[in-house]
Structures are given as C-alpha cells and as structure tokens.
C-alpha cells in the first residue's frame, strides 16, 4: 500500500479560480491516463499520456506541471525508499496500427523539477510485446506488496500480463516470465489488502468523449500472478470483472484507477473521466472515495451539497443545536392509538420559526440527541467557492437549514454554532468518506494546530474536536439526506 501523508496544508489555496458547479476538481485538471498520485516535496503529482502532468498543493486544485521525459503513454509512479520509480510505455496502443511496445522504467529522487534531487536515471526495458503476440505492452502499473514489486501491463489487445521487478533497482528479476492474468482490460492497477491481490482495469472503449463506454472493474486473487476472479467467480481471463465505478454525475467514461491511501481508514482513488460535461467534455482528472464492501473495492461518494441529518455512528444521536425542545401540537382527541376522529390529514413539519423562537441569538453549543426531524437538527452543507479544498472536494460550510447559523470550531477544541457564516477557516469543513461509507468531519486545518482534529462523539451526547481514531465509531458520521422530508 502506498500511503500519502494526510498533510498537505493549503495556505496557498485562497488564490483558487472558480470551479464548475459539479464539485469536480478545481483548476485545469486536463489529463488522460493519470498515474498514481504521488507526494513529493509537499506537492502532489500525476503524469498522463504524453510528456506533461498535473501538480497540486492540496489535492483539490490541479494545474499543469511536472516533468516526465520519455514521452509515451500511460505512466505509473511508485516511491520506494528515496526513489520515485516511473514506468511508461513507448510504442504500441495501436499506434500506426501496431502493438509492438516496450515498458521502460526510470527513477528520480524528486518529482519537483526545481529540486536539486530532481533528475531521471534510466533503468531500461522491463517488459515488451513484439506486435504479433496477444499482448500490447503499455499501461504499466506498480504494486509493492510483501517485499515484492509487481508490474501489470497490457491493453485491450490480448492479455494483461504480470511481471516481477527488483524493488532495489526497478529492473526485471532475472528469469522472471510474464504471466497472463486477464483479457479485455486496459489501464490496469494493483492493490493488496487483507491477503488478497486486486487487479483493477478498465473495460469498454476510450477516447470518444461522452460516447466512451469506459468503466473500472476488479478481480482478486490470493496470488499476485492469479488466477483473478470477480465476485461471481468468473475469471478475469474469461472476461470477468466486478464494477468499481461507472459514469456518474457529469462525468462519463471513468478509467485508469490509481489508489490514494490517506491512512486513518481513508482511501480515495484517482481516475480520469473521458468527458467532463462541465468542461467541454474534455478528459479530466477526478478523485472519489474508495469504499470496501465484503472484501471488494467500490467507488464511494464525495459529499454533495444538500440538507442532511448528521448522525453519529457511536450513539445514533443527531448533531443538533443544544436548545430547548419545542413540542409539536396535534389533535389528540380520541388518543394516539386509535384512528383519528375526523378525516385523516397530514401534519405539517415543525416550522423553523416555531423551533427557532427559543434559540439564543448568539453562539449556541451543539450536542447529540434523538433525531426527531426538527429544524435545529437539520444541516445544509454547501461548498464554499474559492476557499480551497482537499482530495475530491472543496471545503464546505455547514449551516442550520434555512438560516445563516454556521457550525464552527473553537480554539479550545469545541464545536459550536455562530449566528452567521463569515468565511473564516474555523467555519470551513472537510468531509471525507471513509472506507466503510461513513464520513469523517474535520475543520479546515489551522496553522496553529499541532495535529488534525476531527468531530468526534466523545460521549453519547457530546461532540468535540479531538484526534480522529480510525478504530472507533466515535468519529464516524452518516449524512442522511433530508430534502424529501422538508
């Protein structure tokens, strides 16, 4: 597994340009076949087909940058020790009707072209195809697991193959023979988790904009060299593959998976969409949460703007304003348990005016309580333009629905609400989906903080900002959409 430090702060995020409303990445994230996102010198890099790449300081805003010599197609990057190994392919891909290709490896000690450690050293060819055999040696992908360095490669033209490299040098191990592991895939990627090797790859057709049928699939095996099967037991050598992600929202044709392991039970993945309908249907970088369900990876969801109950996984209590409870008055003639004495009629939800009549005007604490669909328990989550972001999402403001009252962090680790949102960092929130589908809520990091804090139910009814413990439910939250209930 490749862990990225949950570190990149965003002191420089305020310059951001406005982004499309789809909450896809900001900046100019135009790329095809992005390599695994890799942290180097405090910045995140990904490289695509061709020479260029993208660079980001926070995982949210991406600009053209990075240098990768060698050209060719669909590189991958892995850091081992103090080296960043880069694999890329030259030739193949049907170019000029041919499928003769070479996968080459090189390394550098920094991906930052301005670093004195920057400078690529050629390792050489680690895999190839002769143009006739049932394989096209392009689209390489690394996996370092259990001390072994694996490389998958191949495309729709014949087999996906696996070879083993020397993690000390990046060279092919002497005598190692390629093993066929899948058909009808391309842009593969590899994961290792709980004793399983996972082979992810893209099915469908690329490079046709919004008409591309690309989607990402997966099979797994106890051995790196297979056999890989999907959730139905269908071998990937017979076309199997469980869906990880298909088109969604305004993005069509997801392909070229890359793991972003942030630790603390949080994984995300990079990919490209063949067409972002908010960006002239161009191919763009995208980042989604990665969930694990019954031992299989599946795409999660970056939180979407909307109105929610925010429910604690610890107690089931709803995050709410700590205010006096206001009863709902209903016609009780005849009691609660029998049929109504008159015509059956709907009862209006408690109004915001009724509920808020008893709220203090200034700062109000929050607590956790039984959810009763009351206005003081309903939160509207809205992205904040030009406030920066993190992997997959911009920062959000969290307001009591229908009001300007904003959730805010305090310097002493409390979480409260203030009468109005003012855009300050202590009112900006990062909401990350965890691998089990729940969410972690953290305030935008402050330079004064020694370590990141998260919203945690430190008691059944008491939330506070403390260090997140991935082994506990206390810091996990479920967002239950309420739009239909209001």
């Amino acid at each position: 597994m490749r862990h990225l430090a949950f570190a990149a702060t965003c002191a420089s995020c305020l310059f951001l340009a406005s982004q499309p409303a789809s909450a896809q990445l900001a900046g100019e994230p135009y790329i095809h076949d992005p390599s695994t996102v890799t942290l180097s010198d405090g910045k995140y890099y990904t490289f695509g087909t061709g020479r260029g790449g993208l660079v980001s300081e926070d995982g949210w805003t991406w600009h053209a940058g990075g240098e990768r010599p060698g050209g060719g197609v669909a590189p991958d990057v892995i850091k081992i020790g103090d080296r960043y190994y880069v694999a890329y392919a030259v030739g193949g891909g049907g170019m000029n009707g041919g499928h003769a290709s070479q996968v080459k490896v090189m390394w550098t000690r920094s991906l930052n072209p301005k670093s004195p450690e920057f400078g690529y050293h050629d390792v050489g060819v680690v895999a190839s195809s002769d143009g006739v055999e049932d394989c096209d040696a392009i689209d390489p992908a690394f996996l370092l697991a259990d001390g072994h360095l694996w490389l998958s490669y191949g495309t729709y033209f014949g087999y996906i193959r696996m070879v083993e490299l020397d993690p000390k040098t990046g060279e092919r191990l002497p005598g190692n023979k390629p093993v066929d592991v899948a058909i009808d895939m391309e842009a593969t990627a590899l994961l290792y988790r709980d004793g399983y090797y996972y082979l992810l790859g893209t099915h469908g057709t690329c490079c046709d904009g919004p008409n591309s049928s690309y989607n990402i699939r997966v099979g797994r095996s106890r051995n790196a060299t297979g056999p890989y099967v999907d959730n139905m037991g269908i071998p990937l050598l017979k076309g199997g593959g469980k869906l990880v992600v298909a088109a969604r929202d305004r993005g069509i044709g997801p392909g070229h998976f890359g793991l972003i392991d942030l630790g603390d039970g949080m994984q995300k993945f990079s990919m490209h969409y063949e067409a972002d309908l908010d960006r002239s249907a161009r191919s763009v970088l995208a980042i989604q949460p990665l969930l694990w369900k019954d031992g299989w990876p599946i795409a999660g969801d970056n939180i979407k703007p909307g109105t929610y109950e925010i429910q604690s996984e610890r107690s089931g209590g709803a995050l709410e304003l700590a205010v006096d409870f206001v009863r709902m008055d209903v016609d009780r003639r005849g009691g609660f348990f029998g049929p109504p004495t008159g015509p059956v009629a709907p009862v209006a939800m408690q109004s915001l005016d009724k509920d808020s009549a008893v709220w203090p005007k200034d700062r109000i604490d929050v607590d956790l309580a039984d959810y009763m669909i009351r206005p003081h328990q309903q939160w509207t989550v809205t992205s904040v333009p030009d406030a920066g972001g993190y992997f997959g999402s911009p920062y959000f403001k969290i307001l009591i629905a229908g009001t300007e009252r904003a959730l805010a962090a305090t310097a002493d680790g409390r979480v409260v609400t203030v009468p109005a949102f003012n855009g300050a960092d202590d009112q900006l929130w990062r909401i990350d989906q965890l691998i089990d589908g729940t969410y972690r809520i953290t305030p935008k990091p402050s330079p004064k903080q020694a370590e990141p804090l998260a919203l945690v139910a430190i008691g059944a009814s008491t939330p506070a900002l403390v260090k997140f413990d991935p082994a506990s439910d206390a810091g996990r939250w479920t967002f239950r959409a309420l739009n239909s209930e209001r």
Partner: protein
C-alpha cells in the same frame, strides 16, 4: 488508453484491405498451420465441449468487409440490419463444408477449426489468414448433437463486439452495443435442443479492436451442459 486507436484502427482497415490481393495464404500449404496455436484443423469426428461447456469446434467464414469507425454505433437496429443483410446465398440455412467458398462481394472460404481456448479468437483468425481484421463481419456455424431432447436450456454468449445468434434457425440471442467479451454475457430465453443434430449459427460484427466470441449452453440450474458432441456435418 490512447486516442490514436481509432485512427490506427482505421489505418489498419486500409492496410488490411490492401491485403485482399494476396492470392494464397499459409493455411493452404499442406502441413502448415498458420492459425496455430489458437486454432487446429479438425481431425477427429466429434469433439466434446470443454470442462466449462464451451463449444470450441466451429466453421468460420473469412471476414466480410463492413467498415465501422466505432463500435459505439452498434445499436440494436444497426446490428440487426447489418447481420440480417444477405451477403451470400444460404447465409441462414446452410451447414457449409470445410474449404467451401461462398460468393459474397468476393469469394470467401469456410474453415473448420478447433479453438484451443474457450473462446474463438476471430481477430487472430483473420490476421493469420492475412484478411481484414477491423471493420468486418464474421460468420460462424457449428452442429451440436444432443443425446436426448433437452428442454429449458439456454444459449450463453459473449462476444466482441456485437453479435446475433440462431439455434435451429430461430434467433436466440443478440448482443448489441460496444461489447467486450465476457462469458455468459447474454443468455437466451429457455430453448429446446432436439435429440440429435442442432445447428448453431452466429454472426459477429466488429469495428476497431479485437474480436472474439464464446458460446456454451447452460441448463435450468445455470450449470454448463457438457454431454453434447460437436461435429460440423
């Protein structure tokens, strides 16, 4: 992966089309097998399905040229029109013989072959014969002998790209759109295999990219039907 594939594929069509003037191919040379190792000439009277029930013995017709820039255009209506157009006499009725030539736009030859894999790699078949590999239609026929009448079985097909399939002259399955091959992709409604001879016929259309198919019968329990024998008569 890269956007040159479309152009490359179309380039290959042009290249392949230029190969039509090649008068003979290695498969005609006694003792040679240009189609190996993916295919072997039929030498035994019958062949059983493989362990998973896949039918590996087929008569394959050299590809009919049908240019398509993209497989995304393989809508049901287009595929149905393209694959029910008559390209040669007896297209939906004959059980051809190995080596027989049909009068399509140009003469095309039937090849009786055993696939060494579970699937039938049409791209490699065409490539080995120096025939067009992209923008083509392949026809395939086999004869399945059943030891008894089998009711409620289903034809299970995967194909790259779109295809249509007939069992005993009746349409059984259609695979439309930009298909990639996965076993059991489309499964027919329940049908009956007669005791004795049953004729399975299919047509696969492909634009750019590889082309292959896999076919088997599955029983009412979803398990492969294996007690069949396949010949080509």
């Amino acid at each position: 992966m890269i956007d040159v594939r479309r152009a490359a594929s179309m380039f290959s069509i042009a290249i392949s089309a230029s190969c039509l003037a090649v008068p003979a191919f290695a498969a005609d040379v006694p003792g040679s097998n240009a189609l190996g190792p993916l295919f072997e000439p039929v030498t035994s009277p019958t062949k059983a399905p493989d362990a998973d029930g896949f039918l590996q013995r087929w008569l394959l017709l050299e590809p009919i040229v049908k240019p398509n820039r993209s497989n995304a255009g393989f809508t049901p209506s287009y595929v149905r029109q393209a694959l029910t157009t008559q390209y040669f006499p007896g297209q939906l009725t004959i059980v051809p013989r190995d080596g027989k030539t049909v009068a399509a736009a140009q003469p095309l030859r039937w090849h009786a072959l055993d696939s060494s894999l579970f699937d039938v790699k049409l791209f490699n078949f065409a490539q080995a014969l120096q025939k067009p590999t992209y923008g083509v239609i392949f026809w395939a026929v086999t004869v399945v002998n059943s030891p008894r009448e089998m009711n409620g079985v289903r034809l299970a097909v995967g194909s790259n790209s779109a295809s249509m399939w007939w069992v005993n002259g009746k349409e059984a399955a259609g695979l439309f759109g930009d298909r990639r091959m996965v076993m059991d992709d489309v499964v027919s409604q329940p049908l009956t295999l007669h005791k004795g001879k049953n004729i399975i016929r299919g047509a696969v259309i492909n634009g750019p990219g590889l082309s292959d198919f896999c076919v088997r019968f599955v029983g009412p329990d979803g398990q492969p039907v294996r007690d069949l024998s396949i010949d080509l008569r």
